[in-house]
């Protein structure tokens, strides 16, 4: 590609000259057709849309193309995957969603060449029912503050010059032009940047203790082993802004005076691996990585280590064992990784989102960064908002934003109308996080407030639940995930979580007793303090938090043998409300266990044989009149 063929920057000055030149080049003022090729949009057919767009644009007469001053960019994830494939026209910021290859001719003819707005492809605001044209006017984006995700979606991640156009590597150049490593350390300390991977440990303090530890070489690791189901902040960052990750690591390496960095990415993120590899090669070719970066005495390089997808390998000590080629199991952290980490050498491990924040802090200053957020949690946090909300996707907001603002602002509110669709709980922090009730919706979200409320920040998963969700079932689901993903090294996590799962299953099946509740609470405490690593220590959180806020639901399962949400199969029966049934017969066709009897005919109704019924819920799903009742 063109940019790799370009020469290395021999000095910081040469780099700055090039970057300045780029800004005045025709590329800087080109109109852009931004096609999202993130994993989410790709799954809904973005590759075909991009190919069709490429063909249609190439078919335009040459002079027309020149006059339009157009280029097409395949970008990373815009975060609004649910509405994909997404196409954005820049700089006018017209936002098209759900674009299909068949829409492309019209999009090019009317939208791009003709300059019209194609209304049927616009996003419709669920509150007003009116289409919204501009990217920034959509609630989902308008309510966000993007620092970590500042570049994603607006540039081609495979193009280094695109990154430079967005002020990329300026922070690294600034540091190399005259900062001392100590100065960088101080800046990060003053910014009060806390690790985004889950623990929220002070990054500056971590760097400082690694630097004062005995032993060389020091190692730098970027944790891209995002394992929480439904979370994809780090994937989007690695896919959509790989140079941002590299630049952040390079600045950290400069502060730590280390030469070796590793990015640990799970193998299930092939696009992230591909983009990172490409970006590393490009950065090396241009003298932004490798020996004597930008002609200075600073040398640093990055290798990629691929993980096999074990959840526990996101735990730092297990991750390091995995990088060493051993079984990915955690070890006790009485001796910190900053003293003895990878290969028993002082090591700094931070997650992707943490590193991406670093260039911005250097660029705009620690004081700027520390002015955003709450007293003890600075900056922004990206969340993967999923579940029963209208807008699902990646949301980056300032620390201290309330849960209500995230769910009902950017999230657009609850998905389903009516009492069943009303807000019930939000689960934060991934599988070992907790469920928070409606009374805590105004909780300002930061590391400490979530922990105090009995949940946690984790890496930023956020699952919204309505009244069709059973909290016992939710706790049981997360326990089953953790039981499978526990490495099994220590007894409390391996045996304890499994027994907790067994007890929850009993309760969900209507076999639970009050003694079970006491037992599971007692065991939860033992697992929480007795386990070796954070997976086991936080494993009981789903149970403890649901017991804390939704104890009545457990009690309904145990004492009344009733599942209030109508989820737990053993405790519900399906029946047909004859007054609502119009005899269409849809349920009859849907039933796989021949449990429904009756003849499809107007005026007739159906019956469900409860003995035959296996409670799959297919009849309720197909009934247009809502005549299938669950009790």
């Amino acid at each position: 590609m063109a940019e790799t063929a370009q020469a290395r920057f021999a000095s910081v000055e040469a780099f700055l000259r090039h970057a300045a030149l780029l800004k005045t080049s025709p590329e800087a003022t080109q109109r852009r057709v931004l096609v999202c090729l993130g994993t989410g949009c790709m799954a809904s057919g973005a590759r075909e849309v991009a190919a069709a767009l490429e063909r249609a644009l190439a078919a335009l007469p040459a002079e027309r193309r020149v006059a339009l001053n157009l280029c097409m960019k395949k970008t990373g994830c815009h975060g609004f995957c649910e509405k994909g494939p997404l196409v954005v026209l820049w700089p006018e910021a017209t936002f098209y969603k759900g674009v299909k290859p068949k829409d492309v001719p019209e999009l090019v003819e009317r939208g791009i060449v003709g300059g019209e707005v194609i209304e049927r492809l616009l996003y419709v605001d669920p509150k007003t029912g009116k289409p919204v044209e501009k990217y920034g006017a959509i609630d989902f984006y308008a309510r966000q503050t993007r620092i970590a995700m500042r570049n994603i979606g607006l540039m081609d991640p495979a193009n280094l010059d695109d990154y430079l156009l967005r002020d990329g590597y300026q922070a690294l150049a600034k540091v190399l032009a005259g900062w001392s490593p100590e100065q960088v350390l101080k800046e990060i300390e003053q910014a009060k940047l806390r690790g985004r991977g889950g623990g929220g440990f002070d990054a500056g303090r971590k760097w400082r203790s690694c630097k004062s530890a005995k032993g060389t070489p020091r190692y730098l690791i970027c944790n891209g082993d995002e394992g929480d189901p439904g979370a994809f902040m780090d994937r989007s960052l690695m896919e959509g802004d790989p140079h941002g990750v590299i630049e952040g690591m390079a600045i950290a390496a400069f502060a730590l005076e280390t030469r070796e960095g590793t990015i640990y990415v799970r193998q299930e993120y092939p696009l992230a691996v591909e983009h990172l590899e490409r970006a590393i090669a490009d950065a090396r070719a241009r003298g932004l990585l490798g020996e004597r970066i930008l002609g200075t005495d600073f040398s640093f390089d990055i290798q990629i280590a691929r993980g096999g997808g074990a959840f526990v390998c996101g735990e730092s000590s297990a991750l390091m064992r995995s990088v060493e080629g051993k079984v990915g199991e955690p070890r006790a952290k009485y001796v910190h990784a900053t003293d003895k980490g990878l290969w028993d050498k002082p090591t700094v491990l931070n997650n992707v989102e943490t590193f991406v924040n670093v260039p911005r802090i250097v660029e705009k200053g620690a004081a700027w960064y520390a002015s955003i957020g709450t007293a003890r949690s600075k900056g922004t946090k990206a969340f993967a908002l999923t579940g029963k909300v209208k807008n699902t996707g990646l949301v980056e907001v300032e620390m201290g934003t309330s849960l209500r603002e995230i769910i009902f602002g950017a999230g657009g509110g609850m998905l389903v109308d009516g009492p069943k669709g009303a807000f019930k709980a939000v689960q934060t922090g991934g599988p070992s996080g907790g469920c928070l009730p409606e009374s805590l919706l105004d909780l300002p979200v930061d590391f400490d407030s979530l922990t105090d409320a009995g949940s946690m920040m984790g890496s930023g998963g956020m699952i919204v639940m309505d009244h069709s969700t059973c909290m016992v079932d939710v706790a049981r689901y997360f326990l089953s995930f953790l039981t499978d993903e526990s490495c099994g090294k220590c007894v409390p996590c391996r045996e304890g979580l499994y027994q907790m799962y067994r007890i929850l299953s009993r309760i969900a099946e209507g076999q639970g007793t009050e003694a079970d509740l006491a037992k599971i609470e007692d065991l939860s405490q033992a697992v929480a303090v007795g386990s070796l690593c954070a997976l086991g220590k936080s494993g009981p959180t789903p149970v403890l938090s649901t017991l804390r806020y939704f104890r009545h639901e457990y009690e309904a399962h145990i004492k009344e043998k009733r599942c209030p949400a109508g989820v737990c199969k053993a405790l519900i029966t399906y029946s047909i409300d004859t007054s609502a049934c119009d005899g269409c017969g849809a349920c009859l066709a849907a039933c796989a266990s021949d449990a429904i009897t009756g003849t499809p005919k107007k005026g007739e109704t159906f019956q469900i044989n409860t003995l035959q019924c296996d409670k799959c819920g297919a009849c309720a799903a197909v009934c247009k009149r809502g005549a299938v009742a669950i009790s």
């Binding site: 074990a310 006790a332 039981t483 099994g488 090294k489 391996r494 045996e495 304890g496 027994q499």
Partner: protein
């Protein structure tokens, strides 16, 4: 392994109200043991590095230097430090211990070791669901670690979570195994079994020939593979494992007898000693 450089001088800390001497670099468990304070363990063995998996040796640590900060730590991995206050029998410690033993009893109800330890902690019967088709393996990992440090890493833990087990490559007989029995020897519950008939030994689905005495032909308590492994690893003489114990004793006695006879004759050296050389 200590966090701070403590020098070489011994120091004291408090365990269960008793002043106990500890050495720099030592773990709390070792210091307690030396002072005669019993802390139960299952995954600890002097031949291998501490692992911290059974969680039985958890103790409550109070750090005076950290404004009385308290936490539950595994004694086998927590570095001893001056002025630590350790409680080995606090309510929190016993709570975890009881639960761990209760859980292990559900996993291995037939293990007499676990039954005894559990009973000592007031757990006569498990309060959890007993595993279907239980065996005696408590997954302490001692076998894997001893194989790694003393032998050939022929076995490993495989699978995750509740499905974790001690396994061999692809579930078959482990090709790297030398039949040394170190795993069976350290297994605290007797889960790892082996058989020996005549000059053959069977373990992990493999059968090994025992080394034979070069003189009488009797089998030695060591396999052929083990002998060559040890000869190579310890750089021993190739004939090191060539005689059985009684033949060795007889040969030694004969040598002494000969020497005594020659000494009686006033000779200082055995005339044919040089031809005898080479054997131990």
């Amino acid at each position: 392994m200590s966090e701070v450089n403590l020098g070489d001088a011994p120091f004291t800390m408090t365990i269960d109200g008793k002043r106990v001497e500890a050495r720099p670099g030592e773990m709390v468990l070792a210091a307690a043991k030396r002072a005669g304070i019993a802390i139960p363990t299952l995954c600890e063995h002097k031949a291998v590095e501490s692992f911290g998996s059974c969680r039985l040796c958890m103790v409550e640590v109070t750090k005076a230097a950290w404004k009385g900060w308290k936490g539950l730590m595994t004694a086998c991995l927590y570095p001893a430090a001056p002025d630590l206050i350790i409680e080995t029998q606090s309510e929190r410690v016993l709570h975890v211990r009881r639960n761990v033993l209760d859980l292990l009893l559900a996993r291995c109800p037939d293990s007499t070791l676990i039954q005894r330890l559990a009973a000592e902690h007031g757990v006569q019967q498990t309060s959890f669901s007993v595993r279907e088709q239980p065996d005696l393996c408590i997954l302490c990992g001692l076998c894997v670690r001893i194989c790694e440090s003393a032998a050939t890493s022929a076995i490993s833990t495989v699978k995750r979570g509740h499905h974790r087990e001690i396994g061999t490559p692809w579930g078959g007989p482990p090709p790297a195994c030398i039949g040394c029995l170190a795993c069976a020897h350290v297994c605290p519950t007797g889960h790892i079994t082996f058989e020996e008939h005549g000059a053959t030994r069977a373990i992990w689905g493999r059968s090994f020939e025992l080394q034979r005495c070069a003189e009488c032909g009797a089998p030695l308590p060591i396999t052929v593979e083990q002998a060559s492994f040890l000869v190579e690893r310890q750089a021993l003489d190739a004939s090191y494992f060539s005689r059985c114990e009684s033949c060795q004793r007889r040969a030694t006695a004969q040598t002494f007898g000969r020497l005594a006879r020659w000494q009686k004759l006033g000779l200082t050296q055995e005339p044919d000693a040089r031809q005898e050389g080479g054997k131990r």
